[in-house]
Symmetry: C2
């Protein structure tokens, strides 16, 4: 670590901007969802991931991977969502250690009600300011960052282990 290889001005500026986005975006998403649906973005995203799974059901571990969260965090969040009736916990048939999280009818309903407003926020705060080339570049670059940030998850491009 003697020579830290400092960033070039361009790299530094890009980095500062990344930091700003990373700092600001969660607040923007959370505040809309909290106001309109009483959900955090993480809770919303968790429900969304469940809704796309077969039978709206996923093992905790699989759900944790899809939501990029630690087991502990997911456990807390599922407990809350269960308390509100949006999710149910069921024991896995194959592995008695495992827990399945399943979206309830109420949870699906909540998601349906909430999605349009959320998508509108995503559009207005991020996507609509970008043209097609920007989106392609963004996709490519985020993919590269993810492949070093989290090499284990092959970014779930359709395939599931």
């Amino acid at each position: 670590m003697d020579d830290p290889r400092w960033l070039t001005p361009r790299q530094l500026r890009a980095w500062i901007r990344v930091v700003s986005v990373v700092e600001l975006l969660p607040g923007a998403l959370d505040s809309q969802l909290q106001r309109d649906a009483g959900l955090t973005h993480f809770e919303y995203f968790t429900l969304a991931m469940l809704s796309e799974a077969p039978h709206c059901t996923l093992r905790m571990t699989a759900l944790a991977r899809r939501t990029n969260s630690s087991p502990a965090r997911l456990s807390h969040v599922i407990a809350r969502l269960q308390g509100r009736g949006f999710v149910e916990r069921t024991a896995s048939a194959e592995d008695r250690r495992a827990t399945n999280a399943e979206l309830t009818e109420a949870g699906w309903q909540k998601l349906v009600e909430t999605a349009p407003g959320h998508v509108a926020t995503v559009r207005s705060s991020v996507i609509d300011g970008l043209d097609d080339a920007d989106v392609a570049d963004l996709d490519r670059i985020m993919g590269r960052i993810l492949s070093t940030l989290d090499p284990t998850s092959r970014q779930r491009d359709g395939s599931e282990a």
Copy 2:
């Protein structure tokens, strides 16, 4: 909100990746800094912003803007950093409501010790995976996102009001 204008597959994939990065990056930065220096990334960044200011001093409001934080959050963080001796609070001469935060010698020292390791992490987890074109694209796109996310801050490209 009748027609939510759903995202195209490409937009959706890019968006999911952005969400993943936003979810994973803070943890990656925090864990290295916490382990090696006992600092959160936000604390580090706060010290860094102070270190670049004239006389290593900034008014709370100005510092809050540079760190994209609320006054309340900054107040808590400065209180902690002050308790550790890295920052001092001084009353502003011009405006008796205002508080200045000033980096102490110990704070500057801490920053100097911590920076190389942090830069190495930024490089290895983000920058080194990108070529020059990627960095240019990233800079451009983050700039566009910021301009809609936080229109008030002209992304401090050198100029200060």
